[in-house]
Amino acid sequence: MGAGRTVLVTGVSRDLGRTLARALATDPGIDRVIGVDVIPPRGDLGDVTFVRADIRNPVIAKVIAKEDVDTVVHMSVIATPGSAGARGTMKELNVIGTMQLLAACQKAEGLRTLVVKSSTTAYGASSRDPAMFTEDMEPRRPARTGYAKDVVEVEQYVRGFARRRPDVRVTLLRCANVIGPRVASPLASYFRLPVIPTVLGFDPRLQFLHETDLYRVLRHAVREDRGGTFNVAGDGLLMLSQALRRAGRPNVPVPGFAFGSLGSALKSVRRADLSPELVAFLTYGRGVDTTRMRSELGFEPQYTTSSAFAEFAASLPPGARRTERVLGSLAERLPAVDDDRPAQLTLAGGTDG
């Protein structure tokens, strides 16, 4: 095979992993792509070789050794217990799976690159958070349950692996909430509710990453070999109230103490999963600084937070927007005026340094 590379992608049964694996397979610099998962992928895998293996099982080490893998892309840290079953299964997949995978990677002599998709959930969300998290900040309130805790633990194992195998370039990508017309995530299903509950008196800041940009950044990380931890998010921020107005969605404010029980009610009817970390996020919001994504990783997202959300919102059924129509018809009768917005400060984002 020579100069070509062999990439192993975990978690290909889900759309995200499958699409990435297919995209990598078309890359001229990559010879072979091996997809690994417990269950077969739903869609077409293209040129990707699928190996049915469980990353919680030492068999994965044999796959890595036999196929002479030099790059591992770990994609199977999942946010929703829904697809995997109960929370216990989800934790086992996330934490034990990562442990086993990293143990296998440590034994693999030929391994050169490890790319792990993590999440900005690792920073948590609380009233004591700084406005923008940089990569070396810790969460102010360490997560005790759920996906957030899994993410923190996975990152710990990855850091431990990086210490033990200094010859492997480890890229840890902390991605902001991924959104897009085809994305199924707790936040996306929250926005797809017919009437969206918000926490009364709180207006969180949100940051989104478009799904296309997620694939792009993962491919970029595989190709470019820049080690380190990077926040990945679209430029700018949206307030939740602003996002709901842009989408034209009706919303109802719910007091904070009732929000959690509403979440479990929604979960029991399988409409949305308002987990504790999502409730915290929808209360306090979060922003991450993406200076290092540009300067060190050399990645530029195509979508800003607002354009990513706009594309997602276009896939939702349109809202009524009655007041807006009335105002619009009224404004048409009046002479056109120039826009008199106040001189806007710098566009929000992590560009200043």
Partner: protein
């Protein structure tokens, strides 16, 4: 009994329950026993509000007056067809259709609207109104930008500042001195004394600085501010962020004008007897932030805020229960109920002192605790001395 026309009350002429053929037992029981129904006979139309908000008055059947009252707000034109009732009211309901406003021509609506607009916006009402509508539409569709701290410049300028300005100018009659000490551009750190039980002084400083220099002061608030519902989201929209070194340095590097009140709750929650005595200035974190970013520190002394809510007592046990630093008791507050929340109209003086430069120190200065303490003391002394001299100049609390 059987051939009496019984239309049950409150069913819009439709029997409410059951098959729709016969009125329910409850409705039959309610209906009058006599064969000639009295006033209850016509189906009650749901009270549809006329444009001025008043529901249509119910008229006796024999009355000849029009059913729709043209609102007095409009000049009643002659071409409105007089809707006098000569037939049974039930029939007229059918004729009129669903909208009670159908009788008013669109032209009248427009002229009334034009009158109102002229009253509100003056002769140049068209562009004025168009601008206002454009603003409303932007807000409704979310077509505005917030910066990374959640600061919404548009709503701050048009709404918060506009609401606070009369309070600053008419109620507290704020007098600003030394405004030139605030740099016209670039980062700077305004350090102020804190007083007044409720942080009104911060709001007044924000509006005064904005009115005199056109710059937005970005306050740093305690984490309690961001934990409280409504307060936290309004604070972020108004430009505040958490008082932590990361945010302070980020804002100062971004060239913002940042305001800090290093006394914190010790300052606003101190008893009235200790007024104008500066409390400890935190741990000097604000000085370290200024040293790291090399921005000037502008000391600000506020006189007048101490007297707005004279704090004479505290309920520490209740405060602990609620998780707040103190529950204030002022001479008026729990006594007069909500009226006690009106601040006393003291006269305010704001004096900005000479900026203290921090760009002359070398790179490691922020990590030298002795230097940080010295600069902190220097700022604190400057503010305290200015406070004393301002108090000497003030004629009385309220003038």
């Amino acid at each position: 009994m059987a051939d009496a026309e019984i239309i049950p009350i409150g069913t819009r002429g439709q029997p409410g329950r059951g098959t729709g053929k016969r009125p329910s037992a409850a409705a039959r029981g309610l209906a009058p026993k006599s064969a000639t129904p009295r006033k209850a006979a016509p189906a009650k139309k749901p009270a549809t509000p006329t444009p001025d908000g008043a529901p249509v008055e119910e008229r006796p059947v024999v009355d000849d007056t029009p059913v729709i009252e043209i609102p007095s707000l409009l000049d009643t034109p002659a071409d409105v067809p007089p809707t006098t009732s000569s037939t049974a009211p039930a029939a007229r309901t059918e004729e009129r259709g669903s909208s009670p406003l159908a009788g008013i021509p669109a032209g009248d609506w427009l002229s009334a609207f034009q009158h109102a607009s002229k009253e509100l916006f003056g002769d140049q009402w068209e562009p004025q109104l168009a601008r206002f509508l454009a603003f409303l539409r932007r807000r409704l569709t979310g077509d505005y930008t917030v910066d990374e701290y959640g600061f919404d410049a548009e709503v701050t300028e048009r709404f918060f500042m506009a609401a606070l300005r009369p309070v600053a100018q008419k109620w507290f009659r704020i007098e600003v001195r030394g405004i030139d000490n605030i740099p016209a551009e670039g980062g700077a750190l305004v350090v102020s004394n804190h007083s007044g039980t409720v942080p009104v002084d911060g709001l007044m400083t924000m509006v005064s600085i904005h009115d005199h220099t056109g710059r937005f002061l970005r306050p740093l608030g305690a984490d309690l501010v961001f934990r409280l519902p409504l307060v936290g989201s309004v604070a972020r929209k108004g430009g505040a962020t958490l008082a932590c070194s990361e945010d302070a340095e980020r804002m100062l590097r971004g060239g913002e004008l940042v305001g800090v009140w290093p006394e914190g709750f010790k300052g606003i929650g101190k008893p009235f007897s200790e007024r104008y005595k500066l409390q400890r200035f935190g741990r000097g974190g604000f000085v370290a932030a200024a040293l790291r970013t090399g921005v000037p520190i502008v000391p600000l002394s506020v006189v007048g805020a101490e007297e707005i809510y004279p704090l004479v007592g505290n309920i520490p046990s209740l405060a602990r229960l609620l998780g707040v630093p103190y529950i204030p008791i002022t001479p008026l507050f729990p006594l007069l109920g909500p009226l006690g929340l009106v601040p006393l109209p003291s006269k305010w003086l704001l004096e900005f002192g000479e900026p203290i430069r921090t760009d002359e120190y070398d790179a490691g200065a922020a990590d030298d605790p002795m230097l940080v303490f010295n600069v902190t003391d220097q700022v604190r002394e400057t503010i305290q001395q200015t406070l004393y001299s301002l108090l000497m100049q003030r004629e009385s609390v309220f003038r």
